[in-house]
């Protein structure tokens, strides 16, 4: 019997609106260069980026709590390959950064080297478009 492969695609793309919480966060980042979170006073948790609800108690939240801009590296890794497993020209360091005042972490680039517990500050792009890429990354202080 013939061995054959029938090829096909899933011809879809996506357009994601960032939602109410992320929009408040991105617009504050774009317009003021600040990091806007949301705090649930009952649970004592501050979410960054801002969310419209507390995942622990489902209370409605407002984007009312500014965090950072400095923060602490919670963990980091160095990527040597891209998503297809091909070698990168230059390795890229990614870090989980907890901004001061937040209970959650942001994933972003670490521009320079430090260790877990190291203090960092954000590097913002001058031309910002309400995107996570408005932030170039974090650099050690």
């Amino acid at each position: 019997m013939t061995v054959r492969r029938i090829e096909g695609v899933l011809p879809v793309a996506f357009r994601y609106t960032p939602g109410v919480g992320n929009t408040a966060f991105f617009e504050a980042l774009r317009d003021r260069g600040t990091f806007l979170g949301a705090r649930c006073a009952d649970c004592g948790v501050t979410y960054l980026p801002a969310r419209i609800f507390c995942e622990r108690c489902l209370a409605g939240l407002m984007p009312d709590t500014e965090c950072g801009p400095e923060g602490t590296v919670e963990s980091w890794t160095v990527a040597h390959e891209d998503a297809d497993g091909l070698p990168l020209d230059l390795p890229v360091t990614f870090a989980l950064v907890r901004l001061d005042g937040a209970d959650t972490v942001l994933l972003h680039k670490l521009l320079g080297s430090t260790d877990i517990g190291g203090r960092v500050r954000p590097v913002l792009r001058p031309d910002r478009a309400a995107s996570i890429l408005d932030l170039e990354g974090f650099e050690p202080i």
């Binding site: 096909g8 011809p11 793309a13 357009r15 994601y16 609106t17 939602g19 774009r30 609800f53």
Partner: protein, 584 residues
């Protein structure tokens, strides 16, 4: 009684909108919070969360269950996502039922969320993979084909008038005009409006179809003890049922939903219902298409086969009729965020049976209702029977529940706002597949290259299967022998399709059909008709395969270029577009 008694004690929903600014998580939160508020409980009273959402491909998030979990209150709790396609919304209430009935939880939050607007260029793209990748997708199918082929078969079998079917769309869109969460309520719509709307895939016209929508619905389910503490007007889950028909959709009886009857009998048996037409006072059958409400009412044994349309046209199923059906406005009127729309039907029965449906309230004091949904590859039936407190406590406040939709959103975006929303991200799903047809279908494709139609047979049930299978799914044993059949057959049903899967108009209509090959059992398979004028096609017409030139054959379903009438006088010169050139 099966397990512990279970009641619904609260329900909430968002508005259904075309494009929500909110993320899926935020939609889930809005509905969950509305349901908690309606039941006057906090999240810490909830023991477990049951969530549903239809295909992952709508969102491009291939872990949609836990992705949505935080908005559904699933943090740090037993959490499960169930999925049976369009049947999911009603099924998540069944999941909630057995989580409570089993004693595993006293209070469960059930959440159904759907955000279809993210999927570009059209959410139908997410459905293309429900077609068989080897035998159907090369034909360039459109999801509407399935419904058009089923609707045509239903109409032909019972000699139905399309006006009677359109009456359902009119009823539901009018009912939805009284629903604060509705997307397509329209008090002044008429049957003529439906019949004058664009023909998409005949007999399906634009106003026969429910709209693509974003939205979420949530309910709170509780054990009897918990329910008694939480409310003096619990609405009981009296029966649940679900059933799956053959996964070969072209082999099913397209004129009658056996799977709904089987699910209904399961639910009615549990609820002690022996005469559904007398014991059910209100119904929320699944109505993504107008004919489908009628199909389902027959499957729910509420009308005889083929008799629901005339009843609908006569007003029997109107909100003030003898058997109110879709008093909510249903999917045709409120909207069709797929999984959420199913759970909306459970929520509507909850509000109706408590007398809290406001302007939508049916007259009298309905005591029992049935909600039903339908999905997977259009062959799953999910059914829930709900009843008012049988202990004589009516407990109806007569007050319309504060519709949280109006309080909590979501924010509806225009197309321009959606296109320009700050921070929006666009990304393709850049995946490609290569499927192996397997042994049986592989041999079938080899046969096509030699102009041979090959079947397998099962001596146990006596069926001859085209396309062939390596095993008989009924007898659950290997098939026995190969058999060659003539390349002629009969049109079981057909459609005249005017749009592509992403709803762009076609220059020439396509004629998809289910062809039953002479000598095969159980329906047939999907292909296209050619060399025939659309108006000349008839169900029952005898057709023959037209083979592609030998040099162009590749061992594909497209080696049959199309089927044409065997009667030469009916044949017309071939229009190029009728040939299946398009792979998708």
């Amino acid at each position: 009684m099966t397990g512990r008694r279970v009641a619904v004690v609260g329900a909430g929903m968002t508005r259904f909108v075309r494009r929500a600014q909110e993320t899926g998580k935020e939609l889930a939160f809005q509905a969950s919070r509305a349901a908690l508020d309606a039941a006057e409980i906090k999240l810490d009273r909830v023991d477990a969360v049951c969530l549903t959402s239809a295909p992952d491909a709508f969102d491009g998030v291939h872990r949609k269950g836990d992705y949505l979990a935080d908005g559904a209150g699933g943090w740090n709790k037993p959490f499960i996502r169930t999925y049976v396609g369009g049947g999911s919304g009603v099924f998540t209430a069944i999941q909630g039922w057995y989580t409570v009935a089993s004693g595993q939880a006293d209070v469960v939050l059930c959440v159904a969320e759907e955000k279809m607007s993210s999927c570009q260029p059209h959410p139908q793209g997410a459905f293309l993979t429900i077609f068989d990748n080897i035998l159907e997708r090369p034909l360039g199918p459109n999801l509407l084909w399935i419904f058009a082929l089923e609707m045509n078969r239903y109409m032909q079998r019972y000699g139905l008038d399309k006006r009677d079917i359109a009456a359902v769309a009119v009823k539901n869109k009018r009912n939805a005009a009284d629903h604060p969460a509705a997307l397509l309520g329209q008090a002044d719509i008429s049957v003529d409006d439906v019949l004058a709307s664009d023909v998409l895939a005949w007999p399906v016209q634009r106003l026969d179809v429910s709209p693509i929508s974003d939205g979420a619905v949530a309910i709170i389910m509780a054990s009897e003890d918990a329910a008694r503490r939480l409310t003096d007007a619990p609405v009981w889950v009296d029966g649940v049922g679900w059933n799956l028909d053959s996964t070969y959709w072209t082999n099913r009886d397209l004129s009658y939903p056996e799977y709904v009857e089987n699910a209904a009998r399961m639910a009615y048996g549990m609820a002690g219902i022996t005469e559904p037409r007398k014991q059910i006072h209100i119904a929320e059958p699944y109505d993504p298409f107008d004919y489908k409400e009628l199909h389902h009412l027959e499957g729910l044994l509420l009308f005889d086969k083929g008799k629901a349309p005339e009843a609908a046209a006569a007003g029997v199923t109107a909100r003030d009729g003898d058997l109110p059906c879709c008093p909510s406005g249903g999917l045709l009127g409120v909207g069709n965020p797929i999984a959420a729309a199913g759970l909306m039907k459970i929520a509507e029965l909850f509000w109706q049976l408590r007398g809290e449906a406001g302007a939508r309230q049916v007259p009298g004091t309905p005591e029992r209702g049935v909600a039903q949904a339908w999905g997977d590859l259009m062959q799953v039936g999910t059914v829930v029977v709900m009843g008012k407190d049988r202990d004589g406590r009516l407990g109806t406040s007569g007050q319309q529940t504060v519709q949280p939709a109006t309080l909590l959103g979501p924010t509806s975006l225009s197309d321009a706002q959606f296109r320009s929303a700050s921070g929006a991200v666009e990304t393709p799903l850049d995946v490609r597949y290569a499927w192996d047809p397997g042994d049986a279908v592989g041999a079938f494709l080899d046969g096509l290259r030699d102009e041979r139609i090959l079947a397998t047979t099962c001596v146990s049930c006596g069926r001859t299967l085209v396309p062939p299978r390596a095993f008989c799914e009924r007898c659950f044993r290997p098939t026995d022998a190969w058999r060659e059949l003539p390349a002629v057959g009969t049109v079981e049903t057909f459609s005249i399709c005017h749009v592509t899967w992403d709803m762009r108009p076609l220059d020439q209509p396509e004629l998809p059909a289910v062809i039953r090959i002479e000598g095969s059992s159980d329906g047939g398979f999907l292909h296209l008709l050619g060399e025939v004028a659309p108006d000349d096609v008839r169900i029952g017409m005898s057709v023959e395969a037209v083979w592609r030139p030998m040099d162009d054959r590749t061992g594909s379903i497209l080696d049959i270029a199309y089927f044409r009438p065997r009667e030469p006088s009916v044949r017309r010169e071939l229009v190029a577009a009728a040939v299946a050139e398009v792979g998708s």
